[in-house]
Amino acid sequence: MIQAGLQLEQGPPISVPFRFFLAAPVFLLLAAAALLWQGPAAFAVRLSPAAVAIAHLVALGFMAMVMIGAMMQMLPVLQGSPVPRPRATAAVTHAGVGLGTLAFAAGFLFGEPWLLRAGALALAAGFLAFVVAVLVCLARAPRQNRTVGSMWLVLASLLVAVVFGLMLASLFGWGIALPNQAAHSLHPGWSLLGWTGLLVTGMGFELVPMLQMTAQYPKPMARYMGALLLALLALWSAALWIDEGRWGEVAVGCAVATAAAYALFAVVTVVLQQRRRRRLADVTLDFWRVGMLSLFGASLAWGIRVAWPGAWAGASPESMDILIGVLAMFGFAGSVISGMLYKIMPFLAWFHLQSMCGPGVLAPNMKKILPDARQRLQFRSQVLALALLCAAALWPGLFVYPAALALAATAVLLEMNLLAVVRAYRDGRARAASQSAPRDSC
């Protein structure tokens, strides 16, 4: 009944999530540098080596880095079972994903297959360590509740995305022919619609009502959307696989239904937030709104793109694909990620500091650790970068350079904010250590 392993206490040491969070903006900056270097050519063709490199710097170095760090922190707390050997798991995963992304992107940018191969292997090792650790954590969860259920789906999707990613890496790195041309679609599909989308929606169902004091999501949606999306993805994959990557009616139908489900999530989230109980201005809330608007836009554009491939009179299909990618990765995932970082990091710094303070003594509060004004400034720069990147997708010649500069600026501001949290944490820790007797503040 009461499991021996049940631990309602806190997650891993603070260094475990923080090392992932602090690395993420560096990769965003590298993506900006690559864009600046390659110029409009990077956005001219969807599968140009530069575009592939930039997409992976963002998807792996920025998005996955933060998502992994957040999961390592939150899973133990939210479901009452620890991630086994958190420090070792974090070290292997962080190094594997971090160095792997660097090598992989460099391999594409400089045309060096050996770098690409090394990167792919390091990435595989890093993700494998993470997946195994989380599997253990999920299997040991004392209650298989809704959150645990959604995390199973997230992990399954990540695994599928990694497998298809390895197939593509075998092609580009080792020249091994793909078992099926469908892998070209299935890898980004499972990465974005599976791993990323399912994690954001699964956490969103819990975190949006909690942190913004909204009503709960409609019960059937919170309960079944994850499983439905996974089923649609599976059917879509089967259809594409059977047709060797050609889009038949079933694949199109599944894709349109998937897009509709995500668009619905975006609309419901915005409506719930509009009626939230907590009325204070909040940067995280604004990030969520931009994220949901981007998700809606990406879903709509992708739905139309697959249903009517020839429908784009003015823009080429390539530039539509890049626009969809920008909206999904930087607009949707990037916004939600930055917004959540501004809750998770100051809270963790406070929480760990608080545990070092004596009884009745209080650590500096979250807004002292990271003031609103700093978050607001970075938020604005990120929205500007998003707008310019969208424009660059459609008119690369005009907008790629301003977009790259704005992306670099927002990455630097984000990192400065995250480092401010670390500084506040270190200062607080030094103060706590130097005070032998409890004082009013620590």
Partner: protein, 145 residues
């Protein structure tokens, strides 16, 4: 019949509501209203801590012989919340909205992660372990002032 878990979850929602009302008044710098609402908020929070700390947790620990387990972590977090509430009161008395809102932001995350653990795990266990005494315990919870 309402389960114990359900009863406690409903009270979490009440606590959320009074928390938000107090914060709203501070945000508008309506100090007289903020004071009244803050009092209502701390009253509900104290009641909640008492319901758990004095009624449910001792019964649960008794039944499971597990005093060092999950309930102890929950008690620790209650203490942490009390410390933050204490500081919030000081900020309110000093009419320092910035300090109050920084503290209330911290309190909100602290409270919500705490509630999440209770609602997702602990209350289920309590319902399982103490379900047969449901009526008696609900009456006791009702009588906690």
């Amino acid at each position: 019949m309402t389960g114990i878990g359900e009863y406690m979850i409903n009270h979490h929602k009440e606590c959320d509501e009074v928390f938000a009302r107090a914060e709203e008044a501070v945000g508008e710098a309506d100090w007289a209203r903020a004071q009244a609402r803050f009092d209502a908020f701390t009253r509900q929070m104290d009641r909640h801590f008492d319901m758990e700390g004095n009624v449910l947790f001792p019964e649960f620990e008794n039944k499971t012989g597990h005093a060092g387990g999950p309930t102890q972590v929950m008690r620790m977090e209650h203490d942490q919340m009390r410390v933050v509430m204490h500081e919030m009161r000081a900020a309110l008395e000093a009419k320092d909205a910035e300090q109050y809102l920084g503290l209330s932001e911290t309190f909100l995350v602290l409270m919500q992660q705490h509630n999440f653990k209770e609602e997702g795990i602990l209350y289920n266990m309590i319902d399982q372990v103490l379900g047969d005494q449901g009526e008696k315990l609900l009456a006791q919870l009702d009588s906690v002032a």
